[in-house]
Amino acid sequence: MRPNLSEPDEFARRIRAHALRMVHAAKASHIGGCLSMADILAVLYTRTLRIDATHPRAPDRDRFVLSKGHATAVLYAALAERGFFSVDDLKTYCCDGSIFTGHVSHAVPGVEVSTGSLGHGLPIAIGMALAARSAGAGSRAFCLLSDGECDEGSNWEGILFAPHHKLDTLVAIVDFNKIQSFGTVAEVLNLDPFAEKWRAFGWHVQEVDGHDIAAMERILDEVPAVPGRPTVIIAHTVKGKGVSFMENKLEWHYRSPSDEQLAAALAEIGA
């Protein structure tokens, strides 16, 4: 079930373009957080995850849980590119009657879990890792979190739990774009010293440029990196990455691009 469908940078370019078109057509929010995590998804879906679109429920598949469920457009795009459904289906995003809801839905092929309320994904991924270990399945559980949702106490319950139970097949990835819903992370509820917190809880911590595809690939290749310890990848990212007028702008947590802005954005990413 080893993927290798395309080069991750090309995959990232395509899913960024899909996500931009989707939020534009639907007049939807959350493009900033989609663009910040696009390179992370590109590595996962072209290099890391042992999944097979023709057997989406295979018991020994890796599990991917998107905990920042609002940034779902780019995940749907990645699943379409991986062949779970047609790229054409993405056009129904947020349309009446579509399964492609504005927060990630398990009705969509390839999606493991619906989320949307923050702080839910990591405990679910922990349960999946526990079950896989018990079954000797060898599958791993990956959970992608936002930085803002690290305010949620439920995450810290899970962060405390996973090292205690030596869940080394669990990988948390934080899309640390430094901007949450109502301001910067530093302004709203500072997470620093973030890496030290995870380390103190017993995690194997890797900090990486979340847009350095080769570096992320190297880290993800090592999982499980340290026997008996879960891995967290703190991916330093740029909200709105790839579209200059969206980068590091809080407003692109909410705004939907106009026709002109869409054209400019697509031109910038080369789509």
Binding site: P59, V113, S114, S117, P123, I126, G127, M128, A131, F161
Partner: protein, 311 residues
């Protein structure tokens, strides 16, 4: 009840390797036999109910049947959104087991009184809700939910509740008669059925014909039984160790709302504000204060019957 629960779960887990049990650091002197016999399928998650519910969903979505266990409000209200989204929305095979129904933890105080849980759990999509009245029903319900493949809520009292009917129910989703009688039909959920039987015996001495039925399954609810019983009854009475709003009384009243002949229904439960107490009291004391002792139940019914006769 809790001992019957764990004994039943041990039987089931011996047959079914997919059964897991998680607890939120509660269950001392109850859960140890399971932990000893099935250490690979038992986790004390710690005092972290949101994490427990999410983990349970993750394990269940990997093909297992997961029981989560804690006291009253902790595996229910504390992690309500996890139960709504992670468990019920996904139809994950998770069973929520709460010990300490109603006033079971009497003197421990308000935080330990589970007064709204049945209503709140019943609101969740696709969940089945069981409030057994005695150990016989606990055993039957535990076996049934372990095999149901869907989310369930099992509300247990504590320990030492008497058997109210030795005959095991054939279907725990149906009403289970505890005492025959047709003119006044008492529907009780939970161990407060014992007080109902006592009240019925007192009323019978006055020549009243009183039946007592255990309504242990609040969802799905046996509407047809209630409609049929109400057609020949002069009075329907509901009794629950729970606030009156949205519990058994509401379900029964709803079942009868469309009937052409409207049999009077009275609900005996815990008045919302009366539940907000700040004094210590045994379960018996608190039940009496809420009007749920056998003598007060009998008085309420006598008054209601007098009104029915006068009307």
């Amino acid at each position: 009840m809790r001992n019957t629960f764990i004994a039943s779960l041990l039987e089931i887990a011996a047959e079914n390797p997919n059964i897991w049990l998680l607890c939120g650091d509660l269950g001392y002197s109850v859960l140890e036999p399971f932990a000893a016999k099935f250490p690979d399928r038992y986790i004390n998650v710690g005092v972290a109910e949101q994490n427990m519910a999410g983990i349970a969903a993750g394990i269940a979505l990997s093909g297992k049947t997961v029981f989560i266990y804690s006291i009253g409000n902790f595996p229910t209200l504390r992690c309500l959104e996890q139960l709504r989204n992670d468990v019920c929305y996904h139809g994950a095979d998770v069973k929520v087991v709460a010990v300490g129904a109603g006033y079971a933890y009497g003197s421990q105080g308000y935080t330990h009184h589970a007064l709204e849980d049945v209503a709140i759990m019943s609101m969740l999509p696709g969940i089945e809700v069981f409030v057994p009245c005695d150990p016989v029903e606990v055993r039957a319900a535990t076996h049934m939910i372990a095999a149901s493949g869907r989310p369930s809520y099992l509300r247990l009292s504590r320990a030492g509740e008497p058997v109210l009917n030795p005959v095991a129910p054939t279907d725990v989703r149906r009403m289970r008669p505890l005492r025959e009688g047709r003119d006044i039909v008492m529907l009780a959920s939970g161990p407060v059925a014992a007080q109902c039987l006592e009240a019925a015996a007192e009323l019978a001495k006055k020549g009243l014909d009183v039946g007592v039925v255990s309504a242990s399954c609040l969802k799905p609810f046996d509407d047809e039984f209630v409609r049929t019983a109400a057609r020949t009854a002069s009075l329907v009475v509901t009794v629950e160790e729970h606030v009156l709003r949205s519990g058994l009384f509401s379900v029964v009243a709803t079942a009868l709302a469309g009937e052409p002949r409207r049999t009077p229904v009275i609900g005996i439960g815990i008045p919302e504000l009366a539940g907000k107490i700040s004094i210590a009291g045994s379960r018996e004391t608190l039940l009496k204060a809420a009007g749920l002792s056998a003598d007060l139940i009998a008085d309420r019914i006598s008054q209601a019957m007098a009104a029915v006769s006068a009307g």
